[in-house]
């Protein structure tokens, strides 16, 4: 049972952290729970479909369908996270000002909510499909009952991670919350872009700069077994920590950060009104 708990927990960490960040980033936006719940529900349905058709997906692209699929939905999440940050750069301040006047915030909040619901859906789908395949596998074993109990506890532990992330971020003063979540979302997107590059490489494409630049796995692995693996995986999700990145991954990571900040800056320039309430971090 403990094994199942740990395996399922390890799979759901990423989705748990992302849901927590999205909840914090949308603090005070009406209807956000409906959108996020929609993202989670869509992700769960998608996960079951992906698990059911895992064989067919894998056989696409001469056996690299799974990698291409993962890279594609990660790229989708990167685009949605970028869209959210850029949109917030233009409207965030005015939204924060109007947060208490519900009517204004409803329309102001709708667009990034759809993007973030997709991000949540993608995270749940990616990790969820692996959980479904794992649980489906153990359903055939003799110890299925206790393994399912372990799996359920693992899912609950993932929900606890969401809650800790959310309440941890809420401890940040409201004035700095959006700035913090903008940084978190940027690093989240950069880490996903690097991960997408890894999947493309593992699909057999982009065989460029594949040498690892350094290796800090002796200090902290970015996944795998034990509490260090779980800690490393959490950092991997949050800020894109990779123990042994290669050149292509590093370029994707840094390039995403630069591109997102450049786009945010450009969007902010188009909304000069926002500068009225600008204040140092």
């Amino acid at each position: 049972m403990l094994a199942a708990l740990v395996i399922v927990f390890r799979e759901v960490i990423e989705a748990g952290l992302i849901v927590g960040i999205v909840l914090a980033a949308t603090r005070g936006v009406p209807l956000r729970l409906r959108w996020i719940a929609l993202g989670v529900a869509g992700g769960v349905i998608g996960a079951c479909l992906v698990a059911a058709f895992a064989g067919q997906i894998a056989n696409l692209f001469s056996g690299s369908g799974q990698e291409i699929f993962n890279a594609t939905i990660l790229a989708l999440a990167v685009i949605m996270l970028t869209w959210h940050n850029v949109w917030m750069a233009g409207h965030g301040r005015e939204m924060a000002r109007h947060m208490k006047s519900v009517g204004a915030a409803v329309s102001a909040g709708e667009r990034p909510l759809a993007a973030l619901a997709i991000v949540v859906g993608v995270a749940v789908l990616r990790e969820g499909s692996e959980v479904v395949l794992f649980l489906y596998g153990i359903a055939q074993s003799t110890t299925a009952g206790s393994m399912f109990a372990g799996g359920a506890l693992g899912l609950a532990a993932g929900a606890v991670i969401s809650a800790l992330m959310y309440y941890g971020l809420l401890a940040i003063p409201a004035g700095k919350l959006f700035r913090t979540t903008a940084w978190l979302i940027t690093l989240l997107a950069a880490g996903m872009a690097a991960q997408a590059v890894l999947f493309i490489q593992n699909a057999g494409y982009l065989q460029l700069l594949t040498r690892s630049l350094w290796d800090t796995s002796w200090l902290l692995p970015d996944g795998g077994e034990g509490w260090r693996g779980i800690l490393g995986k959490m950092l991997h999700t949050l800020v894109g920590y990779t123990a042994a990145p290669d050149g292509a991954q590093l370029i994707a990571y840094l390039g995403s950060i630069v591109a997102i900040f450049a786009l945010m800056r450009w969007e902010r320039g188009r909304h000069p009104g926002g500068k009225l309430v600008a204040k140092p971090a």
């Binding site: 094994a3 395996i7 390890r10 895992a54 064989g55 894998a58 001469s62 056996g63 690299s64 799974q66 990698e67 970028t82 499909s129 692996e130 395949l133 794992f134 489906y136 596998g137 153990i138 055939q140 074993s141 890894l198 493309i200 490489q201 593992n202 699909a203 057999g204 494409y205 982009l206 065989q207 460029l208 594949t210 040498r211 796995s217 692995p221 970015d222 996944g223 795998g224 077994e225 693996g229 123990a243 042994a244 290669d246 370029i251 994707a252 390039g255 995403s256 630069v258 591109a259 786009l263």
Partner: protein, 109 residues
Amino acid sequence: MFWRLSLIPAAFVVVLAGCGNEGAGIPVSLKDHRFSPAEIHVPANQPALILLNNQDGAAEEFDSTALKVEKVVPGHETGNVRIRPLAPGRYPFMGEYHADTARGVVVAD
């Protein structure tokens, strides 16, 4: 955004350059949640391809942080596991869903 656009032409060049140098593929089977062979030899500094045939009914995730691979292979299916060019050394991997028995190592030499 912009960097990604610039990668598209680069990707095509690399795709063309990178094709067909992996050899035929090394067959590895998984049965009763054990890899066979559990020690897989690949030439160092060259890409390699492992053809993992999962003979169990349950799905397995071929997982290795050392090899930078996470690949789910459903039950009774064969999955391609691409190994990037490796410096000489030993690279452990496991079947994440049955890590107590499903273990192995890729040896680059």
